[in-house]
Symmetry: D4
Subunit: 227 residues, 8 copies
């Protein structure tokens, strides 16, 4: 961990040690996970990150309205999509990530994923509402699915869409289960288990509703793929 002259690789704010070393270590922008933090804490951490890497975007995820407002007050140019906020210019897109949803209710998770992909430097194409209950919709989307470098497939309920997509095309699939559903979906557990047991080889899985994690992973891949 070779850092210059005494730089510890983080800034100690007392209540947080902000990791300013991630960029050289991983090549990625830093992110603030806002859940469980006060708006003031988020703004303070974000300020530290903006100072450390002003030419890179910073991301805030899981921001409640008060946090969104506080961030916008300080950085009026912030771009907000749902509970995700980007401060700083988006990098040029390298590679292409397809973000696919099974149903309309899965859109917030897909939006988090797509915003993250862009902030982490890859391009995005969206395919919406192609759940397996009307199979002709996903069959029609096949050319788009094949054209992407990697796919993020977002689905709740039984989470069958990644298996269908993974059987349809050879594009690598990152599956994101959502908490959409009721009763025996147990908050997304049914979709999660379904995706983990996919009979289609080459499907990997993220935590329930974790559009952000899928976005980071997919962007890293897409940026490096030969086209």
């Amino acid at each position: 961990m070779d850092r210059e002259g005494g730089d510890p690789g983080y800034v100690d704010l007392g209540f947080a040690r902000v990791d300013t070393d991630r960029l050289p270590r991983t090549g990625d922008p830093e992110v603030v996970y806002a859940a469980g933090k006060t708006p003031d804490e988020v703004v303070a951490i974000l300020g530290t990150l903006r100072d450390a890497a002003p030419d890179r975007p910073s991301l805030v995820t899981r921001a409640d309205p008060a946090t969104v407002a506080a961030v916008r007050l300080r950085w009026p140019e912030a771009q907000v999509e749902g509970t995700t906020v980007v401060v700083g210019d988006l990098p040029q897109a390298r590679g292409l990530v397809g973000v696919v949803t099974a149903g309309t209710s899965d859109s917030p998770v897909a939006a988090e994923a797509a915003t993250t992909v862009r902030a982490f430097g890859a391009g995005v194409v969206r395919v919406t509402d192609v759940g397996v209950a009307g199979l002709h919709r996903v069959l029609d989307a096949r050319p788009v699915l094949q054209d992407a470098d990697i796919l993020i497939v977002v689905a709740g309920m039984e989470g069958a869409l990644p298996s269908v997509v993974g059987g349809l095309v050879g594009t690598p699939v990152v599956a994101v289960p959502t908490s959409v559903g009721y009763g025996a979906s147990f908050g997304g557990l049914a979709a999660l288990l379904g995706m983990l047991n996919s009979c289609a080889a080459g499907v990997v899985v993220c935590n329930i509703d974790n559009g952000f994690g899928a976005g980071v992973f997919a962007a890293r891949i897409a940026r490096g793929m030969q086209r």
Copy 2:
């Protein structure tokens, strides 16, 4: 519960009260669930059932090899498929049940279902190994799926096939999760939850590996459907 002259509707064997009233009550043959019973107990119960309704088939399910042998010794004409045994002539088939499997490993459960359907008086058509990881196989089977009165769809792992079939045709679907899988399939739990949360309307579910229950239900339906 109007039964003739003092007939209690069962025969008391000491260790078991054999329900001889089921035929008038439900129109169905009686069945011996052999798990947890000794071969002698199974033969004794089966003998009582054969005496009570000699012109109807009787079924033994979950029979281990010792039980199968004991039944065959007494009734050499018994027909055995895996762990399922039928004694007595099969009734004429009314209606048609499609029995569909996702993978080769799901075959034993499908066999139990198909044998049960026949013993309970309906006809069977089999569609084998049409898992969603190779979607063209199930798409090709569409005419058969549409032609049946009701479908039994058997699948392990993530259990996505009933959703795909349910989205493809309007035929009612009885889904049977199997314990095929490993790790986070948790003995069939993943497939069970997937099927319960199916986004395709009109999918109902049986217990894990319960080909028998699905067969009883589907046969009752198929026997009564207008064609």
Copy 3:
């Protein structure tokens, strides 16, 4: 999937691909699952469906009060039962579905089931509050239970009613567990497991509180049964 001249079988609203192909594919009306959608989204999807099949009813399920109000504003003739809304004339009833509840608290789920059955083209007879803790009530209902083509049995807590009904009559039983209960009912899990393990053959199961799914399945069956 032979559709006329370039019709993709769905209408793309941007946020949703409305499946307009379901009617020829399944013979059923289309349904909007309103949970997780805004009132505006529901109205837009419903409008597309009304245009595609004006002579068929359309169903909205799990509608919150704001959505109910928005639908009523646009279609004042809409019929509302609890969280279920029907727009368009109900079809003539073919066949008969018995909707049976164990307790008064199970009524909302039974209402969703019954409304769905009617919208999907079958007739309904209700049997209410015949839980097993007072067995004479369900014994008295036996003639009605026998007379139906198929039964939807709705129960929470330990979910024992489908087993009792399934042992009493030969009518096929679709069991719906409800989230009625507390403590170790775990939101309906106890009833769900109980129904999946029913010792009465020929009981199939839906997701917790899924009156809609049971209604679709039962209506499809009842419409086709010989009487």
Copy 4:
């Protein structure tokens, strides 16, 4: 804990402290739970108990064949039922416990319960194989059920029998779930949850397969009931 002259109320065998104080404390015989103990350990503990209370029976539960053989070698008069062994004369029976089973496969647990009841000083009446799938069998048993002071109802699968019995008669019911079943019975969990959520008031529950515990409880009650 007033014991005579320095008696600690137990005998220290090094590997075990045998509780010789239970009789004055609870009025019951002592029991050796043999699972996880070697035959020699069981014999040593049992010998201590026989010495401490020679005029009372001692019980060994969950004894494997080697342990049964070792006990019989030392006490040839031992009475063995399945995995339960009684050494010493049975006390006179006070009160009456009904032991009821849903199916033949539940018999081993019922046998453990019945043997325990007798060793703990109450009388037993058995009602066998009256599962809810053939309701007329349990209805016929109603007089016996009403005549007992307390009932032990043993059932696997969905465990519905205690609810039905509890709704049929006012006799207190101790429910014992068994591990009989497969798939979503999860080793008896379904029956356990079903019994805990019984809609029939006054049903209490024991651990899965715990015939012994139910027997102790019921015997204590039956011994003290006014008849």
Copy 5:
């Protein structure tokens, strides 16, 4: 089920079939479980019960404030303890039930149990806040514990108190786990499992927070015990 001249044993209110046959069948008053019912429904059911057995108390459990108010408006003499309401004169007490709590937070469940015991015709003695973390408190209560005919032991968190009490005295123990706790108590699951696995013989268990069920069971026992 011999009832006089055409009395079906229930009153059909349309939304409910009120079981008016329970008294002759079980010897107990009827109870309205108010959760999931409207205040109007509760009052209507309760009115039917008051008419059917005016000389017996009727119980309402799990009543929210609106339901309590509605009941009081109609029956000003109603006695209310927490969420439990009794209408009608309490019967004379036969036998004695000890109601024991581990901590102050378990009091509401203990109150439901105690009120039920009284309404079902037995006497009550309370022992409060004798959790195992200060063992001298429960040791001091030993004489009271021994003197009761049966004990209801209410505990949350790890639910160890029934084991300690069951090891201390020979009085039969009905254990009631409560949802008191946090984290890995999982809403009372830890206490429930602890009680089901009690190493003290003769401990039986009710559903989480089910003071009512424990009260019914214990009252039935205590009323019949010889003193």
Copy 6:
């Protein structure tokens, strides 16, 4: 349990038996767990404790704002940190406990732990926000971690920090999982299981969010360690 002249070792407040014997028994101050108690009950219990041991601090944990206010009204000198309140002078610190957090969101649990440690007589050093996603932060903290007598390591999500710390230094580690996370964290279950399965020897675990329990344990150890 030798107490002077008739002192039972507790004060009976009717709704609670306050354990005044803990100090001689365990050497620790008494604590009021406020969850599930009314503010008045908390003040009454606390008053009893202050009277019994006025020269020792008393602790209130899980106090909601109303309870905090009620305590402050009576004891204006009370020190409040989050939901933890201390009344009385803090004892001199013996030994040193390191309280380490993985992320900012884990701070409330760490604060409860640190306050408890001080009230129970040990010193505290805090290490904040050293989660494993930026490993250089925890590597830099190594000297502090080695210098403490015992460490409390607080982490949510996957709960990996105790394993890393336990592999880095030989200081004993008490791990506290927190409910920080979402989806498949299942309210802290993921972190709890992770810590229980730690591959680093010598990691012990507390309940989810149980900073208090970790604090009591660690303070008892630190007070007694040779330095």
Copy 7:
């Protein structure tokens, strides 16, 4: 799904429909999952695959010794690693996948992953036994971890290694939980949940012990990455 002249894209063996269309569809070799299939079935399916694509390797996974022997009898040149068998020449390696294990016991899963990676056309570098309990081992491996295109990180117990690796380098991480562990590892559940909740962004997860799935995914990525 444009295939030449009537080729359905699969070969129907009666008991199986072998998908011969996967190569053009996904660019990957076909695989036989041997669990639940007889050796004869595996050989028959494998023969079909060898005929369809003789210039590509075919993979058999989860082969028991009898299946391995049967495959070797027919194809003596087969390469066997543990329960994984490759028939046919390995393709030239494009890209580099790092396969990392936490402990020696995780080796079989890592071997399945590495063999799969090679058969699917990418190169492999192994890093063995770098669990977090001795952190210096993984720190030393940092250059190798950075140099790979993608990492497969295999770990049982608490599954913390992917978080540490993901925090150390920017290389994308596919985490594979193993069933290594005991007690509260619950067959790999603890590791699975830990990995799903990883605080390191960009970690995706496969099913427990699913080295094959991770290998397919990683090979597809590595083959396409720019170096």
Copy 8:
């Protein structure tokens, strides 16, 4: 991590990187967890450890008979207790750890704990079979419990003993749940949850059956305590 001249702190055996740096890092002997390793692998790792620190004992845990035999062949002086093996001289004992068991069946776990404590340099006193079902046994052991520096309390079933001990004395308690039990003990889950929710402050918990982990932790504490 300052190690001399190029010593990486581990020895690379190809299949394992043996951590030879633990002694300076943690002050403890190294341990081989034998489950999932071949006897040859265990012997090879153990040989490396003996060479690295010949004057310290090395421990093998979870050794099956073949591994025990292989170790004894190479090191005839090895001391074996159950599945735990110690090679090398035991260090002098500093401090005192009490190892307490609830029942005879918990002895193997207690033996693993006690052997580990000794190998890690502390003294041991055993208290056996003092389960809460006979409370006088644990009350009699109070002086021994108070005299130890720290207690390891081993219990299966409901796991109540640590709460009772923790309420009885102020000595810190490390609780170890065991898999002793059946049915709803779910392999030790009931005991684990019970201990995590202990109402006695200052109880910390290890994994199910993890006598080794408890022993390491307790020995580290006891070695450092002032007496």
